[in-house]
Amino acid sequence: MDVLTVKDLSVSFYRESGEIEAVKHVSFSLRPGEILVIMGDTGCGKSVLCKSIVKLLPDIAKIKTGQILFQGKEITGYSEKEMQKLRGASFSMIFQNPMTALNPCMSVGAQIAEAVRLRSPELSRRERWDRVIELLELVGIDRAKERAGQYPFHFSGGMAQRCVIAIALAADPAVLFADEPTTSLDEGMQEQILALLLELREKLGMAVILITHNPKVAARVADRAALMRDGELYRIGDTEEIFEEIIYNNY
């Protein structure tokens, strides 16, 4: 069974100037453990698509039509409370700029511990902290015990992105949304983060929706790829076919 199915999803922004359709009749499905890369130009609706699935759209945006099914169960009409449970347990997201995604006033360990507590409230303080260290080690942070007490500004971009991934993994998610996770990083760091994502997918078996406008990133990790244009999911399929499409049509 597909872990996530999106059928005919349309999302609009309602401004004073009128309605802007950001996502138009998008349909796709995601298999367990699969990495689906969504490519497209800036502003084509990739991020809005992901945020509409996890229901983190701004107030002015609304899902107009469509269905979202998670593990076969429809979640389109889920209330905010129900979505909170789902976000903390089944969906996770990592963002483009790790330095702004982390709260600057909280230690990295405290931020991961918060995610652990929400996922496993039964854990004692000590067990929670052990899990924090375990997660930091899992994403390749050296001297995890010491670094857990440090703040985001103590970390480089790549290291901070690893911490964001650790937060995402605290939920033990079935689907990880990665919204341009390598865009703000240099090439060496990009490669490390992508290798980490692949390694984690192997270890934990989560499905990943990775958004990027970098074909190199897509080629490195994608099981399948999708191309978005002006809010529409223009093409979805085998990665090589999509690349041919990109080259042929000069996207």
């Binding site: 983190l56 997201m93 995604a101 600057p104």
Partner: protein
């Protein structure tokens, strides 16, 4: 312990220097400002004095010497705890202030605490209910109250609660013969306190609201929401923490501002406090009184800033590390 002894010594030096510059500034400005301090001392009699008589009076008050000489003398005396006499009250300025300081601290201090807490709560509430009906209503009422002039509000309150309803006294700090009664003090405080609080509250609450709303648009909020936190939890646990340093800094500076803001309430309600004293001392060139009141206010600002800085470092580690890095350089 984050603050080293060196930091504490540095801050003490900074404190002494700030007080020194403040005293030079107030001393010089008050003396070059137009007006004659003899009026404060002798009243209208000055007009009947001859030039020689006026010169003799100036000499008696030590006002005939050049400003730097006067300042050095003032510093020497102040170092021994002698801040001179008030020209207007013909008494030691410390005595004049001591009689009123408690009243102002009570009114201004209570006002400050109430404003501090209420502004935070209102700001949080409005940010939580952003653009919803409740937010709009609170914003509307807040804007309206902040637009009402304090003296007019004071008169309105006197008219309603003192004249019509006869519930609360319209003037003074306590009733004759009831100096020790807390209930009586409270009744006298209620109206001036309402004016002080309403006069400042919305300004700070609106600031908290906007600062929090800025934070709610930050990227870390999305990550916090993805963890499974509700919007309200994110607001309290994350946004408030990030908005607090700027609020604390602002409130540290606001303390003397609010204390000074008690002046209108003190005047209208004939409340014996420092606010009226500060105004009178500046108006009548009561130099010694003006110096002490200004210094006290200045010291309050400096202390407030120091406390805010310490609190901010505890909340936001970036501030502490920035200071540490600057010191290393």
């Amino acid at each position: 312990m984050r603050r080293s002894y060196i930091t504490i010594i540095e801050e003490l030096i900074r404190f002494v220097l700030s007080v020194f510059f403040l005293s030079v500034l107030v001393f010089t400005l008050s003396r070059v400002a137009p007006g004659d301090p003899l009026y404060a001392y002798y009243g209208d009699r000055v007009e009947k004095m001859g030039t020689l008589e006026q010169e003799a009076a100036r000499e008696r008050l030590g006002l005939h010497e050049p400003i730097p000489v006067q300042y050095v003398r003032w510093v020497k005396n102040a170092a021994h705890g002698d801040f001179g006499i008030s020209y207007q009250y013909k008494r030691d300025v410390k005595e004049v202030i001591a009689g009123r300081l408690g009243n102002t601290l009570l009114l201004g201090g209570l006002g400050f605490v109430i404003i501090f807490v209420l502004a935070l709560l209102l700001g949080l509430f409005c940010a939580w209910r952003e653009e919803k009906r409740a937010d709009k209503i609170v914003c509307g009422i807040g804007t309206l109250t902040s637009c009402i002039p304090e003296f007019w509000l004071s008169l309105l309150l006197i008219l309603v609660f003192s004249v019509w309803l006869k519930w609360l006294p319209s003037s003074g700090a306590y009733s004759m013969g009831a100096e020790g009664s807390l209930a009586d003090r409270g009744r006298h405080l209620l109206l001036p306190l309402t004016v002080v609080v309403l006069g400042h509250l919305w300004y700070y609450a609106y600031l908290v609201r906007n600062r929090l709303l800025e934070e709610t648009r930050a990227d870390y909020v999305l990550l916090a929401r993805m963890k499974g936190l509700s919007g309200k939890q994110v607001l309290y646990r994350h946004c408030l923490r990030n908005a607090l340093p700027s609020y604390l800094s602002m409130m540290a500076i606001a303390f003397p501002h609010i204390l000074g803001g008690t002046y209108v309430a003190e005047t209208v309600f004939s409340y014996p406090g420092i606010g009226t004293l500060a105004y009178e001392s500046a108006r009548y060139q009561d130099y010694n009184l003006l110096m002490l009141v200004s210094l006290m206010t200045g010291i309050l600002v400096i202390f407030g800033n120091m406390i805010a800085e310490i609190l901010n470092e505890r909340i936001d580690p970036r501030i502490y590390l920035k200071t540490e890095a600057q010191q290393r350089r």
